[in-house]
């Protein structure tokens, strides 16, 4: 036996109470881990330091004239540029079949995002040469059981064709794997030219312009030059690096970071009170035993450490389960989304924050009862006067 065994046995002397405490900590850390991972996923796509995005100053739902692309790619400091449009795509069902379909200029798109599009030269050339060609991320193709060469009817909840149809047919020419955090996670790519020629409104307008600078060190200078170039025009621009763009994109969904802070803060606040009160009660019930330990020769410091150790064990156990549960849950979500949406997975940043929070929670909730046990006099504990 050692102190750890004693702590563990004391912790589980009332199993129902301990299990309920563990469950409450588990829930708090599950929420914390999922929300933080979600926030991380939508703000941290695979961003290159020298990859930037120019979009309409109003927001990303407002388009830009295609002429901006031609002007921008010739500006100093721009190494390569492309453009893309949000297609508003879905397959079969508007809700269940939602897909991030982008109308892109194939050659330039590969120039800017090539490292995230691992396809063979043959597939790439096929995508370049066929106007109705479509490339899809592998999880998307797997989910819908698409085969290369298959004609895929893709719907748009925004655009329509001259005949009133909202459906375009594309030929799947290849699929690509998307590594963790890839900018192309869940993407489906179609030709801008084909899209542009068949839509009934918004023709010759593009969603946004991703581009590479010659070096990340010139990012600010290039961004400033671009936005100045289009200042006072009908469509003023806002140029950001890719990470900032991802964050502003996420901000359209709401202030996720604030939501995370508030929800998690409330959860941890409640846990602090519940666990703190219960720990104090649990140690108070053992006043006599604390007195016995001190009588036997356990120092006050050692008794303090043991009580703190109990609350730490509780916190680490509950939070560990919570983070583990979140990892499993996120994996399920990831599989269910089949690569659609942001790359949802357990973010390492959860551990970075979760472990210190768990330790702090354990120490804070255990501090008051531990100090009480530390200060307890043997004669008072045993009622021996």
């Amino acid at each position: 036996m050692n102190d750890l065994v004693l702590m563990r046995k004391n912790l589980f002397r009332k199993p129902v109470r301990t299990v309920l405490l563990v469950v409450s900590i588990f829930m708090a850390f599950l929420i914390f881990s999922v929300m933080l991972s979600f926030n991380h996923a939508i703000t941290n796509f695979n961003a290159l330091p020298n990859r930037m995005v120019t979009l309409n100053k109003i927001n990303f739902t407002e388009s830009l004239p295609i002429a901006y692309y031609d002007r921008l790619r010739q500006m100093e400091g721009v190494k390569a540029a492309t453009h893309m449009n949000w297609f508003g795509g879905y397959y079969q069902d508007p809700v269940k079949g939602f897909l991030p379909v982008f109308a892109v200029d194939p050659e330039t798109y590969f120039a800017v995002y090539g490292e995230d599009l691992p396809v063979t030269p043959e597939v790439r050339d096929k995508f370049f040469s066929e106007r109705t060609a479509m490339l899809a991320a592998k999880p998307v193709a797997d989910k819908w059981k698409w085969r290369v060469g298959q004609r895929i009817p893709m719907n748009s909840n925004i655009f329509s064709q001259a005949n009133g149809s909202h459906t375009w047919e594309f030929t799947l020419v290849g699929v690509f794997d998307t590594p963790q955090g890839s900018s192309q996670t869940g993407s489906v790519l179609i030709h801008f030219d084909y899209f542009n020629e068949t839509i009934t409104f918004g023709r010759d307008r593009i969603g946004w312009i991703p581009f590479l600078t010659t070096s990340a060190t010139v990012n600010d200078k290039v961004a400033q030059a671009i936005d100045q170039r289009f200042m006072n025009s009908q469509d003023e621009t806002s140029t950001q690096d890719e990470a900032a763009f991802n964050k502003s994109f996420a901000a359209q969904l709401g202030n996720i970071a604030l939501v995370v802070t508030l929800v998690v803060g409330a959860a941890f606040g409640a846990i602090l009170l519940i666990v703190g009160t219960t720990m104090a009660l649990a140690v108070r019930e053992r006043t006599r035993e604390v007195g016995v330990l001190k009588t036997l020769g356990f120092s006050s410091g050692r008794v303090l450490a043991m009580v703190l150790g109990e609350s730490l064990l509780l916190s680490i156990f509950g939070s560990g389960l919570g983070m583990l549960g979140a990892a499993g849950l996120l994996e399920l979500v990831k599989n269910a989304m089949a690569g659609g949406g942001p790359p949802m997975s357990f973010a390492p940043i959860v551990l970075w924050w979760g472990i210190p929070i768990a330790i702090a929670l354990g120490l804070v909730t255990g501090l008051a009862p531990a100090l009480g046990a530390y200060r307890l006099k043997i004669v008072d504990a045993l009622g021996r006067r």
Binding site: M1, K9, N10, E289, K294, G297, F298, K377, V379, L382
Partner: protein, 229 residues
Amino acid sequence: MADLIRLTDVEKSYTRGKEKIVIFDRLTMHIEAGDFVAIMGPSGSGKTTLLNLVGGTDRADKGAIEFDSARIDNLSESKLTQWRAANVGFIFQFYNLMPVLTAAQNVELPLLLTKLSGAKRRENVATALKIVGLADRAKHRPREMSGGQQQRVAIARAIVADPKLLLCDEPTGDLDRTTADEILGTLQVLNRDLGKTIIMVTHDAEAAKFAKRVLHLDKGQFDERELAA
């Protein structure tokens, strides 16, 4: 025999509300090594306070307390704790065992304060349980044992670190006569065969007969003739 414990002009009082209750006023006494002393007296006479002072779980207001010719009343809190762990075994009326631990684990508790290896600790625990006749109950929890068996475990816990002094506060107060006599017989064996010095506080005159001598405490003072004997 040399004195194991010597109290000289010890004063002790408590404050209860605005009232000051004097327990000992210049108490002087000594107990020899190897003695088995029963201390009797009415409630409030200071019996338990005396055990607290001798066992280092409470402090005197004034006076000197010596153990084996060394002062313990002026030790720091941590030194006093270490001294207690090394030299004193405690046996309480209500056993005070940890309910979540087995008999063996309860007995092992004082050894966690030593540098003994796990194997050596287990060996000492087995020996202590054998001495009190509970070798076969090592894995039982307190609630699975009778009161007498629990008190035997408490005795094993008190002797496992081989202290010179055993302090017993009403060790048979919660037991029937037969069981009480068995426990007291065990204490006699520890005193006679292992040389433990025992101070036992009791209200029970029958229990006191197991001691080598009986001291009566009243209003914080011993009977001078008994002390001199």
